[in-house]
């Protein structure tokens, strides 16, 4: 009886406690949810920050940017090493290798040559001929496997196989191309080529865009234009700049430089900006009045004669597109963000009666791009890529555009 009563009484008797504990239980459940969410998110961060380190891999690409092979790599003391098997994947499927454990000697037989290496020794001997080469870092053993330094792939093998290798260490990318394919001697005609480089903006009134750190578009593009000029001249390609100093030039004056020097290619250099700090990357623009923005065909502008000039430039659209693709292929080697090509009615190119492009090197409004554009090594890499694009484009045209089309 007592027990029963007590049990019935229980809810009433415990009223005070239960009201509290219901509230507490509810709060507790919420707290547990929030706290666990909180700790889970911290855990996720820790994993994201310290998580399993990504094993580096190196991508070997051909002259057109197509992947030959992507091979896994090992990093030791800031150096990149690839396996012996990578040689087979990239250069020679038929290659045979022999490793002598006690003597730590590695012998590779590829394309009629015997390459002998020793672990811990930078000197490589090549037979027949008994020549030797020295690698910047010696082969090493990782996990009981002999591993070859990246220089073996970017220097030694290209040399032996008559290739040229371009190595981009920040992207772990190696481009292999036939040696000397586009040297002036091979192109023959490039000596006669006149390329017009137009560093955008200039002067006190036309500064172009500006970074939060005070870096100016007009200064970056002028510095690059000067580098381009000297590299191109070394390669036997004649380059003319539309401005040599920080001065204001109208679009008309710039085009006059191109006409006076019988330019066959016009490249206008700029730095980009956007209203979003996230936008980044290299962009190529070509002049097309029927592009993303377009001039209507049925309306005559009040600016007399404009239409005729615009249509005349359209004759070079196809060549401008070819040049854009050459430039895109070369510049893609430098960046992770693929280079985009956009067609728009562009004022800088509207009267250039030759293949012409605007190249936007990167966004001064983006932190990553700004860092690149502030780095002289990066700018030098861009200059070299642009010159390779000139060579690629010139070699694709045979014979070159006759100069009679130009006026």
């Amino acid at each position: 009886m007592k027990n029963l009563r007590n049990q019935k009484l229980f809810p009433v008797g415990a009223m005070m406690t239960t009201t509290n504990s219901v509230a507490i239980q509810k709060t507790t459940r919420n707290i547990r949810k929030t706290v666990s969410a909180f700790f889970l998110s911290i855990l996720a961060w820790i994993i994201a920050l310290n998580g399993p380190a990504q094993e580096p891999s190196v991508r070997f690409i051909d002259v057109n940017g197509g992947t030959i092979a992507e091979v896994s790599a090992q990093r030791q003391a800031e150096q990149i090493y690839l396996s012996v098997d990578a040689v087979r994947q990239i250069f020679d499927l038929e290659m045979t290798d022999q490793y002598n454990h006690p003597r730590k000697r590695l012998t590779l037989k590829t394309k009629g040559k015997q390459i002998r290496l020793q672990i811990g020794n930078s000197v490589v001997s090549i037979d027949p001929g008994g020549q030797t080469r020295t690698l910047p870092t010696p082969p090493i053993i990782i996990e009981q496997q002999p591993m070859l330094p990246i220089a073996f792939f970017t220097q030694l093998l290209p040399e032996l196989n008559n290739f040229e290798a371009l190595y981009n260490p920040s992207l772990n990318r190696v481009q292999l191309r036939p040696k000397g394919a586009w040297t002036p001697a091979a192109i023959g005609d490039s000596v006669n080529w006149a390329i017009i480089i137009d560093p955008g903006h200039g002067g006190a009134d036309d500064r172009g865009c500006e970074s939060s750190t005070g870096l100016l578009e007009k200064d970056i593009v002028l510095a690059l234009a000067k580098q381009l000029s000297s590299i191109s001249n070394e390669q036997g390609i004649q380059v003319y700049l539309t401005r040599q100093t920080d001065t204001k030039k109208t679009h008309f004056e710039r085009i006059q430089v191109a006409k006076r020097n019988q330019g066959q290619l016009f490249l206008s250099l700029h730095c980009n900006a956007s209203f979003s700090p996230h936008e980044k990357g290299i962009k190529i623009y070509l002049n097309n009045p029927k592009g993303q923005l377009r001039f209507p065909s049925n309306v005559q502008s009040a600016l007399t004669g404009q239409r005729l000039k615009i249509l005349a430039q359209a004759n070079f659209l196809k060549q401008s597109q070819d040049f854009a693709h050459a430039l895109q292929t070369e510049l893609n080697f430098l960046t992770e963000t693929p280079v985009e090509i956009t067609e728009l009615p562009l004022v800088a190119l509207s009267e250039a009666y030759m293949p012409a492009l605007v190249l936007e090197l990167g966004y001064l409004s983006n932190v990553e791009d700004l860092e690149k554009l502030s780095n002289s090594e990066y700018i030098a890499g861009v200059a070299q890529a642009i010159v390779r694009a000139f060579q690629r484009y010139i070699s694709s045209i045979n014979p070159p555009v006759p100069s009679t089309l130009l006026e």
Binding site: S21, Q25, G200, C209, E210, P289, Q306, L344, V347, A348
Partner: protein, 227 residues
């Protein structure tokens, strides 16, 4: 006496069991002091601490969630109606302003409500002015702050002429992308509001035709968009 004592004890034990079963966290935190007199004080201290953490986290999570949502902004106060007093104010209408979604990096239509003027050119002025002035959270305006639309008119060929103050050029951040965004935002907003009435748009600065805005795009002719 002993009856009452027993009742109290049993109910205490019962409630303790329930608390133990459902309030495991508190049980763990309170530990051995659970049933002692110090428990309630501990409970209060821990309770307050945890509630404060929960409230803090809750507010943070709520704010994060809210900032993620692409909120349609609430209707802004309507523009003062500049027409003569005999006009009856028309009901508010929805207008799409094209603003930059800074995450997706594209221009997106953002709805606002306006009491629009009956007359075409005045309505065009109203909408372009709204595009200059409106800055709802989470979106970026692509027209330099402080730009003024001097005048808007539409000719017989259905070309809209938009005459802006020179701040549209002088105040522009530059770059082909930014220039293209500015022009495209204007064109998309105009074509969205006047699909039948306007076929192309010519940008003017201080009453003059201009070759360009920031040195890249050719604005010497009326423009429309590739669809």
């Amino acid at each position: 006496m002993s009856d009452t004592q027993e009742t109290v004890n049993i109910s205490d034990i019962q409630s303790e069991r329930i608390s133990r079963a459902q309030g495991g966290l508190i049980e763990q935190l309170a530990g051995d002091a659970y049933s002692s007199a110090g428990f309630s004080r501990l409970l209060v201290i821990w309770g307050i601490t945890l509630v404060l953490i929960a409230v803090g986290l809750g507010v943070t999570l709520y704010l994060i969630e809210r900032s993620k949502q692409s909120l349609v902004p609430t209707a802004p106060p309507p523009l003062p109606i500049a027409a003569n007093p005999s006009d009856i104010p028309p009901p508010p209408q929805e207008v799409n302003l094209f603003l930059l979604d800074t995450t997706a990096l594209t221009l997106v239509p953002v709805k606002i409500e306006r009491r629009l003027h009956a007359e075409l050119t005045k309505r065009l002025s109203q909408i372009v002015t709204a595009l200059i002035q409106e800055t709802p959270p989470n979106f970026r305006n692509t027209i330099p702050r402080g730009t003024v639309l001097n005048e808007a008119y539409i000719d017989s060929q259905q070309t809209a002429y938009l005459d802006f103050s020179n701040h549209l050029t002088d105040g522009h951040i530059g770059g082909t992308t930014a220039e293209l965004l500015t022009i495209t935002a204007i064109l998309k907003t105009v074509f969205d509001a006047f699909p039948e009435e306007i076929k192309q748009v010519q940008i003017l600065i201080e009453g003059e035709e201009v070759k360009t805005l920031a040195g890249h795009l050719n604005l010497s002719q009326p423009l429309h968009l590739f669809q």
